[in-house]
Amino acid sequence: MATRHSRSAARLMMAPAVVLLLGWMLVPLTMTLWFSFRKYLPLRGGDLGFVGFENYGRFLSSSSFWPAVQTTLVIVGGVLIVSVVLGILLALLLDQPIWGQGVVRILVIAPFFVMPTVSALVWKNMFMDPVNGILAHLWRFFGAEPVQWLSQASIPSIIMIVSWQWLPFATLILLTAIQSLDSEQLEAAEMDGAPPLKRFAYIILPHLARAITIVILIQTIFLLSIFAEIFVTTGGAFGTRTLTYLIFQRVLENQNVGLGSAGGVYAIILANIVALFLMRIVGRNLDA
């Protein structure tokens, strides 16, 4: 049904979006690449010329690089494990016939709609405050010494806050996937005497494999760039400086743009590796 006329009209309709996104991608990216090859200190002399790959080398060899990578991996990995494992359990539970299913669903999903700065601050002050926080009350109630959450257990605390935000997302997607499972298959397995654990391992889990992969990939992309949660809780102190936060500090706090831009290029490469896998799955889905 596509005539030549409608083809050119289609191109015209797409043009604004394509041009804008192309500009949004190419202009800043080119600038980041350009800065990354220069010694550029806006507050201490400005642009001091071309330095080749020096920034790339210095970013990698700086004493804060590997700790930042480690922190990033631990936080992303921790949140992924918590949200996917609990997400599967919660999705299985919510899939069962229960009273008030709609309300429970809303309660479970709600944290996802809380803006990052609010959830970070509410957790930091009202829950994790070592004197007046709910957790401190709870610990004292059981006769334990309250924990200095964000200083002594900083990384687990951040994982907890971020997991709370992302568990609803994982749950909702996994629940949607479970609900598309053919119930006859499960009933047949049940009649054949397969115990619940086997039914889960051989029918439900394989069915969920694709949804789990998608949850992991999408969350990884978002988690690699979490910012506000660290910005308002520890400000990167107590070993919570992720790669994203390190680059932010180099660029805006230390105003070492060349160095920060080289870090930015590393971050872009890292995100693209993850994105490649995600795009392959999404692309396959387009053909279907």
């Binding site: 083809r7 899939d95 803006m115 998608i214 910012f227």
Partner: protein
Amino acid sequence: MARAVTPRRKAVNTALAWAVGLILFFPILWTILTSFKTEAQAIADPPIFLFFDWTLENYAIVQERSDYMRFLWNSIIIAGCSTLLGVAIGVPAAWSMAFVPSKRTKDILLWMLSTKMLPAVGVLYPIYILFIQLGLLDSRVGLTVVIMLINLPIIIWMLYTYFKEIPGEILEAARMDGAGLREELIHVLTPMAIPGIASTVLLNVILAWNEAFWTLNLTAVDAAPLTAFIASYSSPEGLFFAKLSAASTMAIAPILILGWFSQKQLVRGLTFGAVK
């Protein structure tokens, strides 16, 4: 796959699900409750759950002290305008890709998605310096455009998956009946596309409202939306739990309500149609 279960099983499952749901919701519930307490009651040991003297004074103080309305207005303007602008640009694009697909449609869609994967921090300085040079730093216009751009791929993808579900036969039938392009658009396609567009708007208002990288880095005073407003409570005001709670409740209430309507769209929008 709802199946028949014994009433006992159902009761156990119900109790379990409610317990988990309430635990997960508790931080929000606690914030809302605390916002109605006095500062002394907010830090009482043991914590007071319901039996306190309900008061609205925190809301009044927050508004008075920090001009909450201005931040709220910025949030509304930025989230609203960036979504409308994004939809205005996204609808024609998604439309043409869904109804006049070419060999390159798939590549274009995937490429658009890939721009969403660009880590914001990687382009922080270029955007920052461009904003300074264009006089856009701490302006609503600048922030609206940036947030529109970061959400545009999601808008186009969502619209695309919705438009794809409109059967092409209906268009052909309308054409057979002698409908021109205009009639086709107004009387046939638009009514079928409206639910999809509405869902897209809903999800994107939520995403824009909660965006907390660019809003924190590109605003100071004039254009700061609620995300930045709350971040300013980081210290020392954050230690005043009742006021922090009132400010937080006001920041999340509108979106919690919108969010409840958008559960289904959330899955589709955030998985780019890969899970439905």
